[in-house]
Symmetry: C2
Subunit: 291 residues, 2 copies
């Protein structure tokens, strides 16, 4: 243990930090957009940081990738056309393509280097990159969504970094309006929505912006995520209508393995803790509601 | 922000760390048992450490204290006699005494200094210390349980530090056998059981020891806890029999406030993630089972 050191992310907005014990830095690249670093840890496999923020570890990324994909895909009645904005590590893409009904999954990340690093240091997440249904684009996700044909997408998954830097434009009304337009009437938008403990105001603001962009129903699902600030994270689903009942029988009989997600976990995640429910209840007055 | 620094707990068994931004150390005492430190943080209120391990913060202790008390108390049909082993910060005692049916709650912590520090820096947790139903003992919890009259307790809550140092003896068969003997036939033991991600083997070992001590049914409930390693924690309930159905109507109609706990959260916490359920399923062969 003499050759190890501790690597920390200090998350200034919440005054908290997460750290891992690491053996060495494996790689570092400064892309046109951000600095990407890879470390080898003692207990968490490889760790990717972007601009100093923990993005994923080999050991615990399954929580996030499963919860960013399966709840939305099992809520939609028959998801065929999926777009992932961000998600350059390809972990969400892999989960999406586990659904045999999906005919096309476009992953549009602005930074090709994230995918190149993931192919090298998280190869298991890139298992499905050569699936004929997958299309990997390295382009501006805001422009991509703005140019999507109206009503052409079933599920949009916004698998982005924090709402600062390159991802800032993925958290505002204009972007949500593009998503709303691109989605078919029964379409679903799902976005990573930060910590329900320390960033509850951000979740409220995001849902408010989604509402102003035309979405009328929201569902925030909390889940554990040790490598993110506070170790507790969330995704938020938005729909034009149709509610958040999900295909529980299909989820229960799914033909693929998951480590965290199950039909019962999906249902359990719909239960918001008292203080989260109370904070989000204010939106009811604006006509938005949880399922 | 110039006068702040970062305070970390490096959790060696998992190679992960949790940290908070702090302004200053408010107090420190070396008791006969352990070193207790109090810091003032920028975003989490006060922080207590014992022997360098984060014990609680003003902001996030509600997860732990509510989940250590209400699930057990709403599972028991009519809990009147409660014993808390450890729990010197008095936060669990406060939650227990919110239940009007409780007639007597004994808190037995070996270290009086923990309670003195809590009274000073977490006074809100000590609100119920002078409740006539409360009895605060500063003594050895192992001896206390061994000397309890057989069948005299409805709920034993083991609110201990990690299973090293003073708390080591609270995780073995001899101690669990004392609890089993002290509990009435429909009694419940609940113990904090560490992180379900990185300490799953400890949970299995604990349940195995509980089984050898005579308990036949177990229930592990995960919950978020940002100040503990990985930000994801658990408690484990053990019963002689009677199952883990709980008084959902009473929980729904409870006459007191909680921030995290609710009847729905209680039910949701009973859903184990796939990998946790799979790991604990091996115990089924030994006759132990989840409800």
């Amino acid at each position: 243990m003499t050759d190890t050191t501790w690597l920390y992310e200090q998350f200034a907005p919440a005054g908290s930090a997460i750290g891992f014990r690491v053996r060495r830095k494996l790689d570092e690249v400064q892309s046109p957009f951000q600095k990407i670093e890879i470390y080898e840890s003692t207990d968490w496999g490889n760790v990717m940081l972007i601009d100093g923020a923990m993005m994923l570890t080999t050991r615990d990324n399954f929580f996030y990738h499963e919860m960013m994909s399966h709840p939305a895909l099992f809520t939609h009645a028959d998801p065929k056309r999926v777009v992932i904005i961000g998600g350059g590590d390809c972990g969400t893409l892999r989960e999406v393509l586990k659904h045999h009904g999906v005919e096309r999954a476009v992953q549009c990340d602005i930074d090709e280097q994230v995918t190149r690093m993931s192919e090298k240091y998280f190869p298991e997440l890139c298992d499905s990159n050569h699936d004929p249904r997958a299309e990997l684009l390295f382009d501006d996700g805001i422009a991509y969504m703005a140019n999507c044909a109206a009503g052409s997408v079933d599920v949009v998954i916004v698998d982005s970094t924090d709402p600062v830097g390159p991802a800032e434009g993925l958290f505002n009304r204009a972007f949500f309006a593009s998503c709303h337009r691109a989605l078919a009437d029964d379409g679903i938008l799902v976005q990573q929505s930060e910590s329900p403990l320390v960033l509850l105001e951000l979740i409220k603001a995001m849902r408010s912006e989604m509402g102003k962009a035309g979405f009328s129903m929201f569902q925030t699902l909390p889940f554990p995520q040790p490598c993110y600030p506070t170790g507790w994270w969330s995704c938020t689903l938005a729909r034009k209508g149709g509610g958040f009942g999900f295909r529980a029988a299909d989820a229960r009989g799914k033909a693929f393995d998951t480590k965290y997600y199950s039909a019962d976990i999906h249902a359990a995640a719909q239960v918001l803790p008292q203080f989260v429910a109370a904070a989000l209840a204010g939106e009811l007055e604006q006509g938005a509601r949880d399922a």
